[in-house]
Symmetry: C3
């Protein structure tokens, strides 16, 4: 072993066999990015935001990093508290050596390399120089929001948006001439969160205002949602998304749904079972909207959110206190997809799973609803959240391979809040090429370049482009900075 | 990488280390096959069926392939519809390149190699020539039903049969002089499927007719089943089998069972709980029958069947719309096995699991009921259905190894509806030898040929032969075509 | 392959790469042992027990071995019956070759090597000579209870003790001058086992006697437990432990708890829901006690115990009839930890999981309650029981790595009833070094000796020493026999 580290992130990082290196450098690395699911702040794109330092672009909203710092014994003021940006950065720098074997360790150094060409391992001693160097680099046009999208050859970005969003920022971006297409995604989670009645009604009011519909009865509600869905469609939206503990599997009748909605609108709380049936009713409604318009519906299932009540109350949602749930999904998925299928309203769908123990349930569930109309119509989405790391990416790829058609997989979703996360596609592609390359060298796949190269390019870009059929941006290739030196 | 593929299925396919190759070629490949669980059509054996083409022998009943085609965007008429056999075959040929990393890709080419000595990779371009070549080859005696059983040195086949089956085909086979012994398996699933009352009663009537018993009361029902069990026994049957979502864990009293049966016989439906208790009552009854006769009971647990209602209604069961369930099994298995054990009626038993997340529950459950009478009395069955592939076979082997006695495992079950599936034993053996060989080379197992060779041959054949103690066929070795050229 | 086995347990056993060998021999093997969780009989330590033969030290209480023998078809009299020690040993010797790939095979030979320098593989032929040789060796002072603790450089042992235990044996050990510190662990499982009312009341009476408190009402009960907790504290105890199917998640109010306790004390049974709420109430009480005193609470969750009723009745608990449960843990853990956290009473905690399918639920759950006060305050414990083997250790290490901070892990728990089990730490360390070494060689971790060596020593000893902050024994290094020859 060495006492000085050589470059940790090198050209063949994660590529442990010759075929993997060939596949990655010849095929995978040359594919553009179709970022069909992320949480980038639209305003930052619209404003072509320029970041002052790593604290802003790295630590402002990244609950993964806050969570790691807390586990490392770092006081809250350096996470979401009032410490200075520099002090927060240094608290993170001190934590990094303790993240060995966590994806944060790989991401951190991959990002330092790809955005700043930094080879140093981040820690307390290298932190100050890295702060200075990156703060300076972030002032260049190559590292503004637009610069980054260009640099990573991002053909399209699909953001996550509330139905009440005016989409003004999206329109501004569309007018800006940015080569990357930026589309909204319709994410109506609040439309079925009825536990907090005042919050629900406030949202319904906002929805009414955005749709210019007075919402008294359920029909008004559905009409307003239908209008917003249409408005999103007019602005290029072709995907919806839902974050649920588990799929709704019981569905209110029309009468029941009307009565539940009326109760809510009059300020009364509803029973768990009423809420559950109402949620099911709404999810069928959203399924039909998507099917009718040819959209793709995404379901993010299984995350157990806001487990720490104290921190939820003091710090809010998405602050690093979520984990993995162990709800049963099979029959619920069967009920929801089966209901839509039976009435002829099953849209293209991507099921994202966050508990690796459920991979085989998800991977085999999709096979029950492939109807021969669209290759891979129902998708088992890439490793999500806690599973967005090498081992779990491999699990998802293997589960899908062993029980379905990997060849029809639409590949990696960025799913990040940060402009620093585009190397996650590179990461996925390296993992993919490493896995496929090993199979070829072990004789588990034919040593046939045409066959294998098609598989790689399909999973990096082509399948997603075909599946979503979104108009894509034409990035001027001559402006692309090389991501790696090969 | 190469642009032309060399032989994909070669002598050392899946054997990635030197010890594995030695173990496979010296020991595993030389073992005969004891096919103790399959779904081969008995009539095809009795008639020594000759197949016209690959569409007949490959696509007639294989819902794995239909399912893959649908996921690949192939319209239904090429799956179970009215397209011509050739067109269906070509639709499959076009799908094959999209099954990379699915077991279908390996099976397809292993079967082409072992039955037809074909090395070409099947796809749209090679399909027509492969169709012609295989259609001709299938006319040879080596590839009739009997020819295949001989060719693969199958000492015995246990089919899956309804208690109402007359077993006339089995008797015909027994008289035919076929070297392979063909035994029925008692599979009384319909005896506890009470949800569809008319279907249940129709089956009870058929049962009564087959046993020559007028079935009015529960006692008649049990007597008829006991008679059929005896009839199966007289025809060589020594195994029973049950396909259940999960093990019944609550058991009707005698009174309750009588009353539930009476209600059913009078055409009334019963409550979920009555049906559940009745199922438990019947499963205890079947357990006692098997224990008394020294049979082995098989439980196939955890498959979530007929998820797509539309396709169930139009295409029926076993058509490719089943997946993996996520029911909880531990306490249910404990209740059923524990009940039988406590009353001294626990037969030898094989538990098959279809959800890999439950492997450790199953692998440790069997240990609670090993009573020192028969080595490996309670078995954790080999990877089933979606788990009948390399990775999941390894999981099952590893789970059993780490928590129980791999050395007492009875090994691979074919579990197929097709005469083309015998190479699955070769596949399992290659996976097994590869795993064990790697352990030896890594020093995890002693490098001791006697010890390791015994393990291999025990798991390929000897343990199953000892465990079931079925009379086996004496195949004339001189008639055996070599399966591989070594 | 060889027909004679060379030394199976050699210096580089399990160390499959160069970096692993370097890490193990330079760092891991040199660390002392902090045995913070085991089930060693305290009296054997107090008496410095000298064992007569392998049957005594190996087979007297080891339900793993009994279980393996039963699965191998060995009659009960050679397990827990009246066969002679020698005959029992030989029954085990005959079983050993059938345990290939089970951890018992590795442990058996590692123990023969480390305690007796025996290289032979144990089986029927080598058994008699091994019996003679080990019986003689066990008479040496190096292999008494104290000799073994010295030999393996055990700085501290935390036993498992009932709150009613006088701790006289612990006091005797403390006075004995044994270099190894021996601390009790507070394990009040019986305090919430209310199903058997007479057994519960008998235990409450013993508790009252031990605390010199007359226990009539709940307040008395809590006071007695508080006193015993204090008594344990005064005797060096800093850990508690609970064995539960799953975490209690509903909590009786004060009134409800008083009423349930009164009902129990008056000899009446309570409902499942009363028992459940009472259990939750008590677990909160115990949590507060531990938090106040700065102890660490251990939860052993998920084992499905005493599945075989017949054997429970005839042979009692912990006799080899336990397996893995499949209860849902996420929300229950969230409720219990969340409740304690919200009231500011969350102690340091170690969650042990026995179902590998729940690894990610546990590994991510701990992240919800890291509060920045103590690095790794909430721990995901090392592979427990059925998971205390190479593959499952790797799974635990990987799950923790991928979703949390491996660097803060406190490492291996012996968790054994036998003085022969200290090589399990060596086993864990070899597995750990092998895993980390492979990562370094594959470029997944930086090839930086300082960074990696710290990770290794932290996980072998330093993290546990820092986390528990127990006074540790000062073993005279010059008295240590080398465990391996390097």
């Amino acid at each position: 072993m060495n006492h000085q580290s050589k470059a940790f992130i090198h050209n063949d990082f994660l590529l442990l066999n010759k075929t993997a290196r060939h596949l990655y450098h010849e095929y995978a690395s040359r594919q553009p990015i179709l970022d069909f699911h992320c949480h980038l702040p639209v305003k930052d794109i619209a404003d072509d935001r320029r970041f002052n330092n790593l604290a802003e672009i790295w630590l402002e909203g990244d609950h993964y990093k806050w969570r790691a710092m807390r586990a490392n014994g770092v006081p809250e003021r350096y996470c979401m508290g009032d410490a200075s940006p520099y002090d927060k950065f240094m608290a993170w720098a001190r934590t990094v050596p303790y993240t060995l074997r966590n994806p944060l360790y790989h991401w951190t150094h991959l990002e330092l390399k790809r955005y700043f060409d930094i080879d140093d391992l981040l820690d307390e001693t290298t932190g100050p120089a890295i702060w200075d160097r990156t703060s300076a680099a972030l002032q260049h046009d190559q590292l503004t929001a637009h610069g980054i999208l260009r640099r990573f050859d991002v053909k399209a970005v699909c953001t996550s948006d509330d139905p009440t969003d005016s989409l003004e920022e999206h329109k501004k971006i569309a007018r800006s001439g940015l080569a990357t297409k930026v589309y909204p995604t319709f994410r109506p989670d609040k439309a079925l969160q009825t536990a907090d009645v005042p919050a629900f009604n406030a949202w319904v009011d906002r929805l009414g205002a955005s749709a210019n519909v007075e919402i008294a009865r359920l029909d008004d509600y559905l009409e307003a949602l239908r209008q917003r869905h249409g408005h999103f469609h007019a602005n290029g939206c072709r995907l919806s998304d839902h974050g649920l503990n588990y799929c709704y599997a019981t569905f209110a009748t029309e009468n029941e749904a009307h009565s539940t909605f009326a109760k809510l609108r009059s300020g009364h709380s509803v029973s768990d079972s009423e809420a559950d049936h109402f949620g099911g009713y709404m999810m069928l409604f959203f399924g039909r909207l998507d099917a009718k318009k040819g959209w793709t519906k995404q379901l993010h299932l299984g995350a157990y959110r806001n487990v720490n009540l104290t921190m939820l109350q003091s710090h809010g949602r998405d602050t690093g206190f979520d984990s993995i749930g162990d709800w049963r999904h099979a029959e619920r998925l069967g009920a929801y997809l089966g209901h839509l299928e039976h009435e002829g309203s099953l849209p293209k769908m991507i099921l994202y799973n966050v508990n690796p123990s459920d991979n085989y349930v998800f991977a085999t569930m999709i096979g029950n609803f492939q109807d021969g109309t669209v290759p891979g119509k129902i998708q088992f989405g890439s490793g999500w959240w806690f599973l967005d790391q090498k081992e779990a990416m491999e699990w998802q790829l293997n589960a899908l391979s062993n029980t379905g058609l990997l060849s029809r997989f639409i590949g990696m979703a960025t799913d990040s809040r940060s402009f620093m996360s585009y190397p996650r596609h590179e990461y996925f592609r390296r993992v993919l090429c490493n896995l496929i390359g090993a199979d070829v060298e072990n004789g588990l796949l034919p040593d046939n370049e045409g066959l294998i190269a098609r598989l790689i390019t399909d999973l990096c870009f082509t399948n997603a482009a075909d599946y979503f059929a979104l108009p894509l941006g034409k990035v001027d290739k001559s402006m692309l900075a090389p991501l790696t030196k090969d």
